[in-house]
Subunit: 342 residues, 2 copies
């Protein structure tokens, strides 16, 4: 059995070729599933590959093919669970392929952000990158990818780019539906906690709120609106403002769950019972939504599925080409919303 070979060294394509009595090119064909290859030869080579435990060197392949098998995730999302869900989604798409996932958090506020990303892309020469919100809304970033010839797909809550570069969720409609649920419960005075300026997702969710307000002819005005930046703390502040208004709302829609938790906190401090005195509905279905009391009625953003599709679009553009993939959100009814008292 077998010649005397170094135990430690990993077998190379040459070892396989020699052992199988074929040229390295033939082995290469086997690896790459070339169709123009005799089945008998293929089997023979595959047997040797298995026996030797040969695994092609990805660096060598990357060099010869002038493309590597790394896909990058560029993000600056404050919600850890969301980021991890995206990573899971991507991983599920590249599982059992030769691709691997490289992560790169960035700081949206840094003036060097674009240069950082550019340097990163130039240095690593990634196959492509996935841009997740909110940084995905940055058009300059997309342009940098374009310029550097790096494939990219943006995950967004609105029509940000052409179909081949986009995976989309319909936050606006999802919020409208959640609002309709509150209206159906009997609420009229529904306040809104908006997200940070410049976030497309925040904008879309606000539009959904306004759609519903207009459609149902609900009261509106500055007393019924507050803004935050997606954090628990700013949600608490927004809750403080809305609940101290002269005419208190019976329900508050917060455009993400962290802020909804902050609103809940503010209500609790005022001795208000949720949902009896105040209904609260959020967005995202963060883990926190199920873990606070009462559990939060919210909207689940199918983030892992979006990420999965985004990754598939990146590594196999032909497969899912054309129109943007649109992912509907799901309304999750839990315990934080009920008919208004009286």
């Amino acid at each position: 059995m077998g010649a005397i070979t170094a135990r430690e060294a990993k077998p190379t394509i040459n070892d396989v070729a020699r052992e199988a009595g074929v040229s390295k090119k033939t082995v290469s064909r086997v690896i790459n599933r070339s169709p123009l290859l005799n089945d008998a030869t293929r089997e023979k080579v595959e047997k040797v590959i298995a026996a030797l435990g040969y695994v092609p060197n990805p660096q060598a392949r990357a060099l010869a093919l002038r493309r590597n098998f790394l896909i990058g995730l560029i993000h600056d999302n404050p919600n850890a669970q969301t980021v991890l869900n995206v990573q899971e989604g991507i991983l599920s798409a590249i599982r059992d392929t030769e691709f691997a996932l490289v992560v790169r958090p960035v700081n949206r506020r840094s003036p060097r952000m674009l240069d950082d990303v550019r340097a990163f892309l130039e240095q690593q020469r990634l196959f492509g990158v996935l841009l997740m919100p909110p940084i995905s809304e940055n058009d300059e970033l997309a342009r940098v990818c374009e310029e550097l010839g790096v494939g990219y797909v943006r995950m967004g809550s609105a029509q940000l780019d052409s179909g081949e570069h986009l995976v989309e969720s319909n936050d606006r409609e999802a919020v409208r539906k959640a609002m309709e649920y509150l209206v159906a419960l009997g609420h009229r005075r529904i306040a809104f906690v908006a997200g940070p300026e410049g976030f497309r997702s925040a904008r879309e969710r606000e539009l959904g709120y306004r759609d519903a307000v207009k459609a149902a002819g609900l009261p509106q005005g500055p007393e019924l609106e507050a803004a935050g930046n997606y954090t628990f703390e700013t949600g608490k502040l927004a809750g403080d403002k809305l609940l101290d208004a002269t005419e208190r709302p019976t329900a508050i829609y917060s455009c993400n769950d962290e802020m909804a938790a902050g609103v809940l906190h503010a209500a609790r401090e005022r001795g208000l019972s949720v949902p009896d005195d105040l209904s609260i509905v959020g967005f995202d279905d963060s883990p926190i939504a199920a873990h606070i009391w009462p559990p939060l009625t919210t909207v689940r953003w199918p983030v892992a599925a979006m990420a999965r599709t985004a990754a598939l679009k990146l590594i196999d553009p032909g497969h899912a080409s054309g129109q943007p993939a649109l992912f509907p959100s799901i309304f999750i009814e839990r315990g934080s919303a009920a008919p208004p008292r009286r």
Copy 2:
């Protein structure tokens, strides 16, 4: 200025050499900071590199050097924020180096887990990997790395490995101190929610609890103990059990925050006020700790700093060689613990 060259193609080392009028070997020496090199030459070459915007091809380097610049993070941690903090820590260590971070979540329960990891390591030929808890406690996994010649560093809550492969936190002592805090508040009947079997961190935290119980001569027994698996749901179940005991505890120590939130939930269902009727203390300082009501008194695990050190150990073993790096946890006093009523 300059010769007529293709605009689009990335410059190679040959372009730099030609433009600078030196050999590619000399350019290579500049890139690799070889000391035996004339300063004037070095500057000349560096100027050309900057002018051309040349960036060495990492795949080619990886091939020639027989090592790449990818470090992997292998994890199966259920806490998203912790995972992200670890990623941040690693990134801060490799920022401005040529290293990049590849993530690889695994499923601890899968029987194929070890094979998956082995395949991953063989295929990607990483420079090294970081193992974060709880998977870092798996000795077989470490052995696989060893066998494959992949560098590794384990992050753990106990002496898991020799110093060069370990970054350590002292959970046991941290829990003991948190318990002493409860004792100092006047609690005697303190129950414990343990973590899942087989988790070293859970074991260490339990030992910390027992240390304190013994030192203060507190009551103990099966009525004062319950186990969970680090999730909110199992924490709720543990809370149900402990709070329905014939003699109810005045405080509950939960060995992580998610479960503490579950306990809080259980208390709330029974109409108990926290912290007046029941004090609760957790561990981890997950984001949830600050976002529930009342905010949770807990222990912060310096996870990002640990990850940073782990990454540094990996990429520059000489620098931080020898003894394991030990990271003390910090006690965070918030609102969920108070003196017992009466």
